[in-house]
């Protein structure tokens, strides 16, 4: 009793400590923020008669007292751009990308843990709860090694910045560090994150039951809040580089740190990154599960990893579906910020990268669908749906083809002449936004349909209105398709600036399908008759390859989008504030970028497989021992080579 109480007190203390850790940076920041506000004013008062230089904020248009140095004008030379026998930009690209991959993985996995742990806590089925809990524990274990790697990579990144772009980095850190304690908050947050993570991980076994479990769960919430704030801060750098604010035209800091952080693109970037990280994390974990599935030798393992892969995939896809919409918002903000930037992205220099991106999105959804169809193979009774898969394939392929049709087609002059103009009278119409919106919405709706089929695969509804429900669902989907396509076609007849508005009802249709149909389906399937249990592990190997495909494609896409986002600044370090005068100020060709992204992706996967392997080294011994300890278990012959 006393022990239990002590444990409880201890855990509450731990929780309080974490809350304290969370608040600490803010508390530390407050006085310095206050000082920061006063300092320039005090200076101004002291000078009084002297001219106080005022500057106008480039974005917020507010007046402010100049506090910072102007953005340095760099010249190509070893002083501003020291170099090795290699392209500095490529080195930096590599370091950045690897840090980002690991960073997003490390940020995403705790969120999964939180969700899965929560599911484990609320579920009533004891066995399932245990499995969920174990799964969450497995996840966090994977992320622990990756976490230290992230920190190391972050260090390498800063080192790369310092050595290769000293002028630029000192300007940025001048704004973010010297005058304001953002950097300190960042560092403190990082420490807090590490602390919380370790307590969370090592407290797992000690806080297994009842009340303590809730405390443990709330720890994960705190962990994730810290992590997310950390990411927001990191995003503010990127936001500042793309759409500077809080400085005047010469890049002099004007004393309002909130303006510097809260730039035009900060919030869309935040949202986009959270969703992207989650989908990415899901992909990596799913790939891990797939790897374990393919490598495992027993049915038991196969069943476990099949299940794990499914959960990870479902979580990842759940965040993948809203991702295009978040991207759409980001794009709209980019257009609102600088039309020129938007056109460079969508219609100008980087347009081809968007064709690749469209291809990637298609691959992601196609693999997801494919996985779900394969997964139907592990349940009895799903055969009735499998017959219709070919029609889904057809719809998906049509949507996909519309989605990837380029607006500007590549052709030889002869083909151009034969076509009689720049625009193809049939396919040219697929190249514009209206059709593409239709395409992607059709794809997403089809994915929703696949999900619904999967969820009811081995079940037959027993509710009295089952027939009505089925017909209603069918008609709802049919109408949704019709509505999406109708709006896509309708978009051709109204002017471009108005047409943009049509994507909103299209998206609403897709989302209605998602929410209503899932809800309706789960109501209908409540207490449904099962045709047979889901036979975990009895899934084709192809499905696992689909998962790996999903993960790889997602990694690649992340690299691609990061590259696009970064290169849209063209020859600016900080858009319209600080020029890039290095010999690498030009934008690479699509081909080189693709090769570089491939390299980054492969490097990441080779290292993360290594991390998995490291994790399995530690894990292997424990189950073997515990298994041996269980009385009555069949002694297994030790496999030796």
């Amino acid at each position: 009793m006393g022990l239990l109480a002590g444990k409880r007190v201890f855990s509450i203390m731990a929780l309080c400590m974490m809350v304290g850790l969370l608040l600490l940076p803010i508390v530390v920041a407050l006085p310095s923020l206050a000082i920061g506000e006063e300092a320039p004013a005090g200076d101004a008062a002291k000078k009084d008669g002297d001219k106080v230089e005022k500057g106008r904020d480039v974005y917020y248009k507010t007046e402010g007292i100049v506090v910072g140095a102007p953005a340095p004008k760099t010249v190509d030379g070893p002083r501003d751009y020291p170099r090795y026998n290699f392209e500095s930009r490529v080195l930096l690209w590599f370091a950045n990308q690897q840090h980002l991959y690991y960073g997003s993985f490390v940020l995403a996995v705790p969120i999964f843990c939180m969700i899965i742990e929560f599911m484990g806590v609320v579920t009533k089925d004891k066995a399932l709860a245990k499995r969920y809990d174990q799964l969450a524990y497995d996840f966090i274990k994977i992320s622990l090694t990756a976490y230290s790697l992230t920190a190391i990579l972050g260090g390498i990144l800063i080192f790369t910045f310092l050595t290769l772009y000293p002028a630029f980095f000192s300007y940025l850190s001048g704004i973010f560090r010297i005058f304001r304690p953002v950097m300190h908050i960042y560092a403190l947050m990082f420490v807090a994150e590490s602390g919380t993570l370790y307590i969370y991980y090592y407290g797992w076994d000690k806080m297994r039951e009842g009340f303590l479990k809730w405390i443990h769960l709330s720890m994960s919430v705190i962990l994730n809040i810290i992590g997310t704030l950390l990411m927001f801060l990191a995003n503010s750098w990127i936001g500042f580089m793309m759409s500077p604010a809080g400085v005047d035209e010469q890049g002099r800091y004007l004393g309002n740190i909130w303006h510097v952080i809260h730039t035009a693109l900060w919030n869309p970037l935040n949202l986009h990154r959270i969703l992207g990280n989650m989908a990415f994390g899901g992909g990596v974990v799913a790939a891990y599960a797939a790897y374990k599935f393919l490598a495992s030798k027993t049915d038991e393992d196969r069943a476990h990893y099949d299940w794990m892969g499914y959960i990870a995939m479902a979580l990842g896809v759940a965040f993948l579906i809203p991702l295009p919409f978040a991207g759409y918002w980001l794009m709209r903000e980019v257009y609102a910020y600088r039309q020129q930037m938007g056109i460079t992205l969508m219609g100008g220099l980087l347009a081809w990268l968007f064709i690749i991106q469209a291809t990637m999105i298609g691959i992601l959804f196609l693999s997801t669908n494919y996985y779900l169809w394969q997964a139907m193979g592990r349940m009895r009774g799903a055969e009735k749906y499998q017959r219709y898969i070919k029609y889904l394939v057809f719809i998906l392929a049509c949507g996909y083809m519309v989605f990837i049709t380029p607006h500007t087609m590549v052709m030889t002059p002869a083909e151009l002449k034969a076509m009689g103009g720049q625009q193809h009278p049939v396919l040219g119409n697929y190249g514009v936004m209206s059709a593409k919106n239709g395409g992607i919405n059709v794809i997403i709706t089809t994915t929703v349909l696949s999900f619904v089929w999967y969820m009811r695969g081995n079940k037959v509804s027993t509710v009295s209105w089952a027939k009505f429900g089925n017909i209603f669902m069918g008609i709802f989907f049919a109408c949704a398709y019709f509505n999406i396509i109708f709006l896509a076609v309708y978009g051709y007849y109204i002017p471009a600036n108005v047409r943009v508005g049509l994507s909103v009802p299209q998206v609403a249709t897709t989302l209605s399908c998602l929410f209503f149909m899932f809800a309706l389906n789960s109501v209908m399937m409540k207490g449904a008759k099962q045709m047979g249990p889901i036979e975990w592990g009895k899934i084709s190997a192809r499905s696992q390859y689909a998962l790996i495909m999903l993960a790889t494609a997602f990694t690649w896409m992340m690299g691609l989008m990061g590259y696009i986002r970064s290169s849209v600044r063209l020859f600016w370090h900080v858009n319209e504030i600080m020029r890039d005068n290095s010999p690498w100020a030009y934008t690479h060709t699509v081909g080189f970028a693709a090769n570089m992204i491939s390299f980054n992706v492969l490097f990441f996967w080779i290292t993360i497989l290594f991390v998995f392997w490291l994790g399995s080294l530690g894990a292997k011994k424990v189950p073997v021992e515990s298994k041996a300890g269980i009385p009555g278990s069949i002694p297994q012959p030790v496999a030796s080579h």
């Binding site: 990637m360 790996i548 020029r579 060709t589 081909g591 090769n595 491939s598």
Partner: protein
């Protein structure tokens, strides 16, 4: 490195040959090593290919990824204990190869370098380049110094003449300036080394700056502090040559930066055939007279500023007067800083109607506004007594936009003697 890996594999091959006695196992081990060698060869081929083709968009680059894919799959066939890992890796390489290939298959567009920034790297210029820049600042273009009315950012030709024999009513002719600087230093009125003795309005450029010690410093000082020494006869009328009508060149509206001033000076030397002091020396001479805080920042050449117009009409009226440098010669009621006395006081609301009626008037204007316009565009049409003819530049018709001219006329026609000046 590749050879080492191959050597190890070959060694393994030999080792298996020696150590494993059982024929079946031996055969298997040998076979596996052989496959390993083939795969390693492929791998190194791929890596070499990758390395060679790293830069530039090369369609061969994805090929190496395909080679790796093939080799991993081949290995996966034979190394069953690693087969899952190899196959996964293979698939990943395949996906990467596909996407890379796709990226390379698409048309390649390189962003190209950014347009060259209009920023000059002053300190690395040769004296001749520097002089060209200086000529641009003074006259608006290289080789324009002989053109009538050519004027650049520095706006010097508004008042100064630059060639021997040309008229310099408002300001000294600057021909032969480098040589003359020395003479001026000897002038007792200049009181070299003892600025407090000076009887001019300004004693020093700024407290503690001292006086010029050599010709270059003299030029610098007269740019930075025109009223520190006024050449006899060129002072503001009525001040007995105590005050100079010239604006401090480093201050708005002209705001030449130090390197720009250095470029101007270099031109002055070079056109006389004299070797100019080095860029650093000239900048140093200016630093002596312009305190740190007053030095104009190297302003970005804004595209809008590239126009050859002095004022395009979008500015408020007081700025038009300032940009056109009207204020250095004319007194204009209501315009801050317009206290010049080289030209008549501009109260055209009252004076213009009188002058049209003047029998000496030979112009074509019928109304006061027409008169004002005419006197700006064609100053010699009617010269107000007792001011001399040909003092006012005849270039304002080209250098002010129609909008700016209209604003000036509007304003001036409202200025009346004795009445409060119109609102700006």
């Amino acid at each position: 490195m590749g050879w080492m890996a191959l050597a190890i594999l070959a060694g393994l091959l030999v080792y298996f040959q020696m150590s494993i006695s059982e024929p079946a196992a031996k055969k298997r081990a040998v076979f596996k090593t052989f496959i390993g060698i083939v795969a390693t060869l492929l791998l190194f081929m791929a890596i070499a290919n990758y390395k060679n083709n790293f830069y530039g968009e090369n369609r061969l680059l994805p090929v190496s990824l395909v080679i790796i894919t093939v080799s991993t799959f081949v290995m996966a066939l034979y190394f069953t204990n690693l087969s899952a890992l190899l196959k996964i890796g293979g698939l990943m390489f395949f996906v990467a190869a596909f996407l890379s290939g796709y990226g390379n298959w698409l048309p390649q567009v390189e962003g190209g370098f950014p347009p060259v920034e209009e920023k000059k790297t002053w300190d690395s210029m040769t004296p001749q380049q520097l002089a060209d820049e200086g000529e641009k600042i003074i006259f608006g273009g290289v080789g324009k110094n002989k053109e009538q009315g050519a004027i650049g950012k520095g706006q010097c030709p508004l008042c100064h003449a630059f060639h021997a024999g040309m008229l310099g009513e408002r300001a000294p002719n600057l021909a032969g300036l480098p040589g003359r600087g020395k003479e001026r230093l000897e002038d007792p009125k200049y009181s070299k080394g003892n600025p407090s003795k000076r009887e001019y309005e300004a004693k020093e450029a700024f407290p503690g700056s001292g006086t010029a010690e050599n010709a270059q410093e003299y030029i610098a000082e007269s740019h930075a502090c025109p009223s520190c020494y006024v050449v006899a006869g060129y002072g503001v009328k009525g001040t007995n040559d105590k005050q100079s009508p010239m604006p401090s060149i480093h201050k708005p509206p002209i705001s030449l930066s130090l390197p720009e001033l250095a470029a101007v000076d270099t031109w002055m030397y070079l056109r006389e055939g004299i070797d100019a002091p080095s860029f650093e020396e000239i900048v140093k001479s200016y630093e002596k007279f312009i305190p740190e805080a007053d030095r104009p920042k190297q302003a970005d050449e804004k595209p809008a500023g590239a126009t050859s117009l002095l004022a395009d009409g979008s500015e408020p009226i007081d700025q038009i007067f300032a940009k056109g440098q009207c204020i250095s010669c004319h007194t204009i009621p209501g315009i801050p800083g317009a206290v010049g006395t080289i030209g008549p006081k501009l109260e055209e609301g009252t004076t213009a109607p009188q002058r049209i009626k003047d029998p000496a008037y030979k112009g074509t204007a019928k109304s006061p506004t027409e008169y004002i316009m005419e006197s700006i565009v064609d100053p010699s049409a009617y010269v107000v007594k007792p001011f001399p003819d040909n003092t006012m530049p005849k270039i304002f018709g080209q250098k002010l936009s129609a909008g700016a001219l209209k604003k000036i006329v509007d304003y001036l026609s409202q200025v009346k003697t004795g009445a409060p000046p119109p609102k700006i």
